[in-house]
């Protein structure tokens, strides 16, 4: 089934935040962000800005009726700075004016004086200063310290990954409309409507039941609108609440890039030990996460780094410690993969280092250590592994032997170009690692004409979740998808939602829809059973027809609904789902946090231009563990899109902050994401189809985040190509692999 939004998408008729028709009298906001990354505010002068014609009011923290606090996990993030600023761009004031242009102009007229304090951007320095967001956490399995004693090969090193700008093409924004009795309706481009509602309630000191958050869809989210959409909505809500006028704020790109956090950069130390058979026996790793100025979601990101520190491998002795380091950068946040990719990059670097040192191919080590069913993860869950199945299928179907021969032949013949190949197996746990978040609700109405309207907690942001919700309901009711409409995500219709995140949105909300539909269906069957004088078990609906004991009756779906109404049964249902079997004990760092894992293997080949240091990605060949895909066109899109986003993170996407904590890559002209020319020439995707029971909706495993990690393979393929040109290159393990790093790597230790 095709994406239900694709008709209006291609006609420009889909509605996003900035497309909502504004009410007469609406006002426009703009945030004034701190010009310095750290310091004490000694003076804030708004007079010039206020004097500008059209400026209605400028809000500071002193105007907040409730708490000046929007921290999601830890209350350490004020909506607006009080006496100190902690990052460049930290909101200090919110200007509201009659037009957006005037609001922007007024922002430029605000004067501030700040006594500077030392600026820290390096997480290792923050750790040294004792500046941690939360106490360090350690996941431990076996006894790594003693295990090293029996290892033949032991290597240590540093691996680093930079941040990543989400670059949703639709920037952040919100539009708040005041209504009677101190209530507010807010349109927000958010992945987490409940987070917006909860924080707005705290800031305005009103109950949550007065705040209606409504989301039609997002023009991309990728984690960047999970927690970080909140502040813009709260700004608009605050102003609308106090001014009794609608207030809108749609950020421009530079505001968005400067003021919002990104994927957490990491720098990590590792030590890895292997026995004579190249089995990894021990792994110790310390992760230094650059959290930015406040917690945001970083503690949860940190946790997932630990969950995925051994990627797709079984390591019997692991000690993994993670530090969430406070720096003077915008609070870093969720981004597709959520710390998992950062953890995986380190063990892949460790394996590459062993392989390069021993003069063997990294894939030899990777393959020997893949997880098998029954292996224990460092956090105590037992693997049900498809790692070997994916790896073996990829090797066979993509004819790895021929591929290797072609590359060897190419490299021996060519001086100006070199090719490199890598394997990238992945293993990604599905569920929010905070167990209570694994619940969802869906509200299903069947109207008397037989049409169906569904509301869930899922936010559509391009991942196709609404299409999947239609599929669930259409399958259970056995009616045409055209009979089903998905409504906006709205906190008045579905309450207490978890954000659309963790790849679990379709699973959680799909199961809630399934439960609601099944309950309505059961009632309808009983109505039909009464009419046909049989048992409800004898009734079936197929293609909008009622079947009695497998015999088609005259009764249609619409007739049955009419009958149900006359019999006064409820044609509505509010379904609730909570993932069973999940638990995690943080005091022991052990449990069963994931409903299941997604596995896969990517084989990447690249070609480097050894004169210029530029490169092309020839192909990425993937076998992905889909379970039983319920929508292959959407799932393929997720794999291809996730892969390319991962490649971007590993190659051209380079976030540059200067020592003053100022973002230098602050626009699309200086921060480059993949364009149509830079993607792999071919992406081959094979589905590993399994019928195994799992907790996925219709056994269709999650596809949102896992494919991003296939992109890590590109980094290592490029490394291998550099080594083919210059085997002695001392290039470090630091992503992204920009053309600069490639060229310097190619000519490392050679004179210019």
């Amino acid at each position: 089934m095709k994406n239900i939004d694709s008709f209006t998408h291609t006609r420009g008729e889909s509605v996003y935040l900035d497309d909502i028709p504004v009410l007469v009298g609406s006002l426009y906001g703009a945030v004034y962000g701190s010009p310095l990354a750290h310091g004490k505010i000694t003076k804030l002068d708004l007079s010039e800005a206020l004097a500008l014609e059209g400026v209605v009011r400028i809000f500071t923290y002193q105007d907040i009726p409730g708490k000046n606090q929007i921290g999601g996990i830890i209350p350490d993030e004020p909506l607006m700075a009080e006496d100190e600023v902690h990052f460049n761009g930290m909101p200090v004031a919110f200007v509201v004016a009659s037009t957006k242009e005037i609001a922007d102009a007024a922002v430029k007229k605000i004067n501030i004086e700040i006594d500077p304090l030392p600026i820290v951007t390096d997480p290792r320095l923050a750790k040294k200063n004792g500046s941690l967001i939360v106490p360090p956490r350690t996941f431990k399995l076996g006894d790594s310290e003693n295990a090293f004693a029996s290892c033949k090969h032991i290597y240590e090193g540093i691996a680093e990954t930079n941040g990543q700008e989400h670059l949703y093409i639709e920037t952040q924004g919100a539009y708040a409309i005041p209504s009677e009795n101190n209530s507010i309706k807010v349109y927000s481009s958010t992945q987490g409507p409940t987070a917006v509602q909860r924080h707005m309630a705290d800031v305005l000191a009103i109950p949550m039941h007065r705040i209606e958050v409504d989301v039609t869809r997002l023009g991309g989210g990728f984690g960047g609108k999970e927690d970080q959409a909140t502040s813009w909505a709260v700004f608009c809500g605050l102003a609308a609440f106090l001014l009794k006028k609608p207030v809108k704020y749609s950020l421009n790109r530079m505001e968005d890039m400067r003021m919002t956090g990104k994927r957490n950069p990491y720098t990590s130390d590792y030590k890895i030990g292997l026995d004579e058979n190249l089995k990894i026996k021990a792994y110790e790793v310390s992760f230094y996460q650059n959290a930015g100025a406040s917690a945001d979601l970083s503690p949860a990101v940190l946790e997932r780094t630990l969950f995925h520190s051994t990627n797709s491998y079984f390591v019997p002795n692991v000690t993994a410690t993670a530090y969430s380091c406070r720096t003077n950068l915008p609070p870093n946040t969720a981004f597709r993969g959520f710390g998992g990719p950062q953890g995986m990059f380190v063990i892949e670097s460790a394996i590459a280092k062993v392989a390069e040192s021993l003069g063997i191919d990294a894939s030899v080590i990777q393959e020997k250590n893949l997880l098998v069913t029954g292996d224990e993860f460092s956090y105590g869950q037992i693997a049900e592994s498809e790692a070997g199945a994916c790896w073996n299928k990829a090797s066979a179907i993509f004819d790895i032997e021929t591929l290797r021969k072609e590359i060897t032949a190419f490299n021996s013949k060519n001086d100006l170009f070199k090719k490199g190949l890598s394997f990238m197996p992945i293993c990604f746990g599905i569920s929010f690692t905070k167990t209570p978040m694994n619940q969802a609700r869906a509200l299903v109405h069947v109207y008397t004409d037989g049409s169906v309207n569904i509301s869930t907690g899922a936010v559509e942001m391009g991942q196709g979740v609404n299409t999947k919700m239609v599929q669930v309901a259409a399958t259970i009711f056995s009616i045409s998808p055209d009979q089903i409409k998905i409504s906006t995500t709205n906190t008045f219709r579905v309450a207490n939602t978890s954000p659309s995140a963790a790849s679990a949105t379709a699973d959680l909300n799909g199961k809630a829809v399934q439960i609601a539909c099944n309950n309505i269906l059961q009632r309808l069957k009983e109505v039909a059973a009464t009419k046909f004088n049989c048992s409800a078990d004898d009734i079936k609906i197929e293609n909008e027809k009622v079947f009695v004991n497998n015999q088609s009756s005259e009764m249609t779906w619409k007739d049955l609904i009419g009958e149900g109404y006359l019999k006064r049964i409820s044609l509505s249902e509010h379904g609730h789902y909570a993932t069973p079997g999940l638990h995690f004990d943080q005091s022991k760092e052990k449990g069963h946090p994931f409903a299941y894992h997604v596995y896969g293997t990517a084989i990447t080949t690249v070609t480097i231009d050894c004169v210029r240091g530029i490169y092309e990605i020839d192909s990425v060949k993937i076998v992905n563990d889909f379970g039983t895909s319920m929508n292959t066109i959407i799932d393929r899109g997720q794999i291809e899109g996730g892969l390319v986003q991962g490649i971007g993170w590993m190659t051209m996407e380079e976030i540059v902050y200067d020592a003053e904590g100022r973002l230098r890559s602050n626009a699309l002209s200086t921060y480059k994401v993949p364009d149509i020319y830079s993607v792999p020439k071919t992406i081959d995707l094979e589905f590993l189809n399994t019928q195994n029971d799992n907790l996925a909706i219709f056994k269709s495993k999650a596809v949102g985040e896992p494919p991003l990690m296939y992109g890590i393979g590109t980094y290592f393929a490029l490394r291998n190509a550099i080594k083919a040109f210059n085997p002695n290159s001392g290039i470090g393990y630091s992503a992204p692999m920009t053309p600069e790093k490639v060229l310097l790597g190619l000519y490392h230790s050679k004179n210019v």
Binding site: K2, D5, L167, Y168, G462, G637, L668, T670, K672, L743
Partner: protein, 448 residues
């Protein structure tokens, strides 16, 4: 006001999206139709950088103006291939590719992709979009030489009203331009990025369509090009195509299709970016600029045009009227190199051009330029002088690289460290010789 703000906030046509407001994402792509004889030619632009002053007398087509009752082949292909996810970039792609269906490019994969090379999608990874393009091309192959617009109307690629446009455009009267206004705007692709907040409030004189500043003519070996010539016009000019065999590949490295449709060559010069691609290109050709100010005029060499960072040998009231340079002939060798983080639609870390006038294996005269290696677009005078009169050899290349290194002063910034830019220039000089002298031992050049 930009065309984007006009269509979204004055006309409330919200299908055109805002992604970056600097021409780097294509979400705001719009088609512009211009009368030419009895026809209207359509090209894509990023409406965020187009002043409405440049829209006068033209047919402006947004996504709403493309929509018919049913989906057109571009829209249908996107639906069929799953080429839209969040949908925010989609109207830009649809408009760009519908524009592609209206022009007479052959329906090849390369041409279809070039048509949407200014469009960024963050969701799909582009593979489904490539498949959609293939399917669009299958449809366009049925065109068989018919007039593209006629074919497009007949096949519901654009609505019927397009037939009425040539007549309606003729009815629009030209307006008297106020040339007293000092601030001149041509394509606007740089001004509307650099001065976005202020320029919309300024009194402007729009010179893009000034016919006196248009046209590319060849007089003997010399080429005269009007200052308002757009990069696309230059790229499609028969004179350039003939004298620069590698033109297509070079132009592909310069910005994107919609930007090239607006940006002018002289605008690249006056922008004075140390890294301007066309500036580097024309520096190696020793282009001369004719500056005019009312009835007064003077000629200044591009090489002498830059006095310091963003400082020009040009009075505010002067404008560039034309660019004059000698066309390379069959004995000349010309090459352009550019490396950036992303190969396309990106600003160079380093770029360089070279022109060698050859007599056998002797270089009669050489000219090398480089960008990104100092405060101004750099003509490497010492290296150029040294190479002139020498026989080509690997030793000579080595010497040229060493001399070039003494002439440059790159700084570390978002586009690379100083060490990288130095290494990169040396590599790109090697690349010049590897490209121009395939008979030399590549490997030896590489390991100089």
């Amino acid at each position: 006001m930009t065309l984007l703000d006009f269509v979204r906030y004055q006309k409330h046509l919200v299908g055109t999206k805002i992604g970056c407001r600097e021409g780097d994402c294509g979400a705001c792509t719009i088609l512009v139709g211009e009368s030419c004889d009895d026809k209207v030619n359509y090209h894509s632009v990023t409406s965020c950088l187009m002043p409405i002053g440049n829209a006068h007398g033209k047919h402006i087509v947004t996504i709403e103006g493309i929509n018919g009752t049913n989906l057109n082949i571009v829209q249908q292909s996107f639906v069929d291939q799953g080429a839209t996810q969040c949908g925010f970039c989609t109207p830009g792609f649809i408009v760009a590719l519908t524009g592609y269906c209206l022009n007479d490019h052959l329906p090849t994969r390369e041409n279809a992709i070039d048509a949407m090379n200014g469009n960024i999608c963050r969701c799909t990874g582009y593979k489904s979009i490539e498949k959609a393009a293939t399917s669009i091309n299958e449809n366009l192959k049925l065109r068989n030489g018919q007039d593209p617009l006629t074919f497009a109307i007949a096949n519901n690629i654009v609505p019927d009203y397009f037939k009425t446009i040539p007549g309606r455009l003729k009815e629009i009267k030209s307006i008297n331009k106020d040339s007293e206004k000092i601030k001149k705007v041509a394509g606007g692709t740089d001004l509307y990025v650099q001065q976005h907040d202020t320029i919309v409030h300024e009194e402007l004189d729009f010179i893009l369509d000034n016919s006196l500043l248009k046209g590319i003519t060849q007089i003997n070996n010399s080429c005269e090009m009007g200052a308002s010539t757009t990069v696309s016009e230059m790229a499609h000019s028969p004179v350039f195509i003939k004298h620069f065999p590698a033109l297509k590949n070079i132009i592909k490295l310069v910005s994107s299709t919609p930007i090239r449709n607006m940006a002018t060559v002289a605008g690249n010069f006056t922008n004075a970016s140390p890294i301007g691609d066309l500036t580097i290109f024309f520096l190696a050709l020793n282009a001369q600029l004719k500056l005019i100010n009312g009835d007064e005029s003077r000629v200044v060499a591009l090489r002498d045009f830059y006095k310091g960072y963003k400082q020009l040998d040009k009075k505010p009231e002067e404008i560039i009227e034309k660019i004059v340079f000698e066309l390379p002939d069959a004995n000349d060798k010309f090459n352009f190199e550019k490396v950036c983080k992303r190969t396309h639609l990106d600003i160079a870390s380093v770029n360089t051009a070279i022109l060698l006038k050859m007599n056998g294996d002797e270089i009669m005269e050489g000219s090398i330029s480089a960008g990104g290696v100092g405060p101004v677009p750099k003509y490497l005078s010492a290296a150029s002088e040294y190479i002139s009169g020498k026989k080509i050899s690997i030793a000579l290349i080595k010497e040229i690289i060493e001399i070039a290194q003494t002439e440059i002063s790159p700084i570390s910034d978002a586009r690379g460290t100083e060490a990288y830019k130095r290494l990169l220039l040396s590599q790109l000089i090697k690349a010049h010789f590897i490209c121009l002298f395939p008979e030399l031992d590549n490997k030896k050049i590489l390991f100089i």
